[in-house]
């Protein structure tokens, strides 16, 4: 890595991704020029749609691998997870940058985006989210600075190394606050959000799920990249990593059930309506089956088991966020909302941009352990999941 040689290999997949990113980018400009009405299916009944529900809420949750890995490796000092720390940070950084773009597109008066920095609506949960997400993205950029200065602007490297400990600690603290706050956002929906999801514990649930989805995302990425490259993933690391997730999920499950009984909403689970069934799907497929896999050594230690666990947990967290934003609100709101073509294409474009950025950075900076690095160029499929 001595000389500044940049590389970006073209492959058919990458060409497709570039096309999607270009379409998405053009539509983003179009949206800013013509407004939300002509470009989205949002309306007075459904003021928040796909861009908030998927691009922001789900995006931030799935980027949780960054802070959970950082907590395990750098703060708790579990060194065996160190080889995946940089990849997790990069995923998270790109994830957050995409979330910021998504948010920027969704706010109607986008030229006013900086207002909350000076006009402090400090009673709002969104105020906390806004500050934490902005600061955390900055912190992650600085953390990435430590990696980037290995190659460019080397004379700054010493400074980045020095401030890194502070960045790492703040970089765990901030996500803890805003991951939970994203749940708190929906506490104000008291009486509107279906009782299976509304709870004063929403912040705790959002925080815990963002934590345990981290190992699942990291495993999924490692498995996919190994299939593309033939490089054997670090099974030992991944298996102990998902066990960490498993313990957290166990606590989550117990809390969820306890909370349902405490609020007298447990009866709704088996009501047989849309909400009840979606809740069951979320809990059984997203939590209980993965838990069985996680705590059955034979299953956990198999490649198929690890893959199933990861896919189910990621899907379960996505479903949970969708249920809070859409399923749980539809009974109260009525009417209908389905994302427009432009909403879809912009979201897909954002993911494509993220994947391309990930590929470029992995190819040009020291992100993954050396022996794995050679085969990085075929990581498309891995990265698609990675930045979603």
């Amino acid at each position: 890595m001595a000389a500044k040689n940049w590389s970006f290999r073209m492959t058919p997949t990458r060409a497709v991704l570039m096309a999607l990113a270009a379409i998405g980018g053009a539509l983003m400009v179009y949206r800013l020029v013509v407004g939300l009405g002509p470009t989205t299916n949002l309306n007075d009944q459904w003021p928040w749609g796909m861009w908030i529900g998927f691009d922001v809420l789900t995006g931030v949750a799935l980027a949780g691998g960054g802070y959970s890995t950082c907590l395990l490796v750098n703060v708790m000092g579990i060194k065996k997870f160190a080889p995946i720390a940089r990849a997790a940070l990069l995923t998270s950084l790109i994830g957050y940058l995409l979330v910021m773009v998504g948010l920027f597109l969704d706010i109607g008066r986008w030229f006013n985006f900086w207002r909350p920095f000076v006009s402090w609506g400090h009673t709002s949960i969104l105020f906390e989210v806004f500050w934490c997400v902005s600061l955390y993205t900055t912190v992650q950029l600085l953390e990435f600075g430590e990696i980037a200065t290995e190659k460019v602007g080397k004379r700054w490297h010493g400074i980045f190394k020095k401030i890194l400990p502070v960045l790492l600690i703040v970089g765990v603290l901030l996500p803890t606050l805003h991951q939970s706050s994203l749940g708190s956002l929906y506490v104000i929906e008291v009486g509107k959000l279906y009782p299976l999801w509304w709870s004063l514990l929403l912040p705790i649930f959002f925080l815990m799920s963002s934590f345990f989805v981290g190992p699942a995302m990291v495993s999924l990425e490692s498995l996919l990249s190994s299939r593309a490259t033939g490089h054997k993933p670090e099974y030992n690391i991944l298996q102990s990593l998902i066990k960490v997730a498993g313990y957290m999920m166990l606590v989550y499950l117990v809390l969820k059930i306890g909370d349902l009984f405490y609020r007298g909403a447990a009866g709704l689970v088996f009501a047989g309506n849309l909400e009840g069934n979606m809740f069951l799907l979320e809990m059984i497929a997203g939590i209980i089956i993965p838990l069985v896999i996680c705590f059955t050594p034979k299953l956990r230690n198999s490649k198929a088991g690890l893959a199933t666990f990861s896919v189910l947990v990621v899907a379960g967290v996505i479903l949970n966020r969708m249920n809070v934003v859409f399923t749980g609100m539809s009974d109260y709101i009525g009417g209908s909302y389905f994302p427009s073509a432009i909403e879809w294409l912009v979201s897909i474009g954002l993911v494509a941009m993220g994947v391309l950025a990930y590929l470029f950075i992995v190819e040009n900076f020291n992100i993954v352990p050396k022996e794995q690095h050679e085969a990085e160029t075929d990581k498309e499929t891995a990265a698609v999941k990675h930045t979603a």
Binding site: V33, V34, G35, L36, G37, P38, L42, N43, D44, P47, W48, L71, N74, V75, M76, G77, D106, I107, G108, R109, W110, F111, N112, F113, R115, P116, S119, W120, G121, H122, T123, S124, I125, L126, F127, E128, F130, P165, L168, I169, V170, V172, L173, T176, L177, S181, S184, L185, V187, I188, E189, V190, G191, K192, L200, P203
Partner: protein
């Protein structure tokens, strides 16, 4: 100190004067496809108030009756929208109105999500949209006048005055006349609102949200927000402690390794 409006639904004849006055005073557009009066009327960016016709039945003979329900922002005593706004674009004034300042608004629409009565609307068709809702004519109130809608009501269905006085008046009315339902909508709903309603038909039948919490909505989130600094500090200290401890442990382990190699 705080102003309020009492709506007596039994007195409303559905003339629509209040809606016309609102449109004129606030310079709102008339739209054929979105009437402000009648069965299909609803609030939107240009309808800050609407007068909804509700057909229902009364008495033992199930006699069909009409009632008109005037909708607009209720101007909560502790508004969810104000607490939800992260740039202070919505503010509760001392006189009572909840007022919107477009220059501070980011357009995030969290107020629309937060409002327990789904009042704030958005200019979806505009490139630079604003949040739109009844402002309770704060300029008129400041000059000692009543809001435009209450000014023109020909049947005294709308009474403007001090919140305290109107609450007393409402209580007296429903106690003295048996036809009224024993409930003042807005007295306790969402922690209390500046607009109060009395009616001879149960509020639920008229389409009011009767299952709304009686606690002020901001209290729910404030209980969480108040915890944030404490949680943040404790968690930050804990993380720092863990970090320092583990680094120290690593250093010692490395030194010991070096010593062993040295031997």
């Amino acid at each position: 100190m705080s102003k309020a409006v009492l709506v007596d639904i039994t007195k409303c004849v559905g003339c629509g004067s209040c809606g016309v006055a609102c449109k004129m005073w606030n310079n709102l557009e008339y739209r054929k496809e979105s009437p402000m009066l009648g069965k299909d009327s609803k609030l939107d960016a240009e309808n800050w108030t609407n007068i909804k016709l509700v057909e229902t039945e009364t008495g033992a003979e199930k006699q069909s009756i009409w009632r008109f329900v005037k909708n607009q922002c209720l101007h909560c005593e502790e508004p969810a929208c104000v607490s939800a706004c992260f740039s202070k674009a919505l503010q509760k004034t001392k006189a009572g109105p909840v007022v919107y300042h477009a220059n501070l608004c980011v357009g995030c629409r969290y107020c629309m999500i937060a409002c327990p009565f789904d009042i704030p609307k958005y200019e979806w068709g505009k490139v630079i949209p604003r949040i739109r809702k009844c402002q309770m004519c704060p300029g008129r109130i400041k000059e000692g006048n009543s809001p435009a809608c209450t000014e023109v009501c020909p049947t005294n269905a709308l009474t403007f005055g001090e919140h305290k006085d109107l609450l007393k008046q409402a209580r007296a009315t429903i106690n003295n006349d048996k036809k009224y339902v024993q409930h003042i909508f807005g007295e306790k709903e969402a922690g209390g609102t500046a607009w109060l309603y009395i009616s001879d038909v149960p509020f639920k039948e008229l389409g009011f949200r009767t299952d709304v919490t009686t606690q002020a909505v901001p209290h729910y989130t404030e209980s969480i927000m108040h915890l944030t600094p404490a949680v943040g500090l404790t968690w930050g200290a804990l993380l720092t402690g863990m970090y320092v401890y583990n680094r120290r442990r690593n250093t010692i382990a490395n030194e010991e390794n070096d010593n062993k190699k040295g031997k």
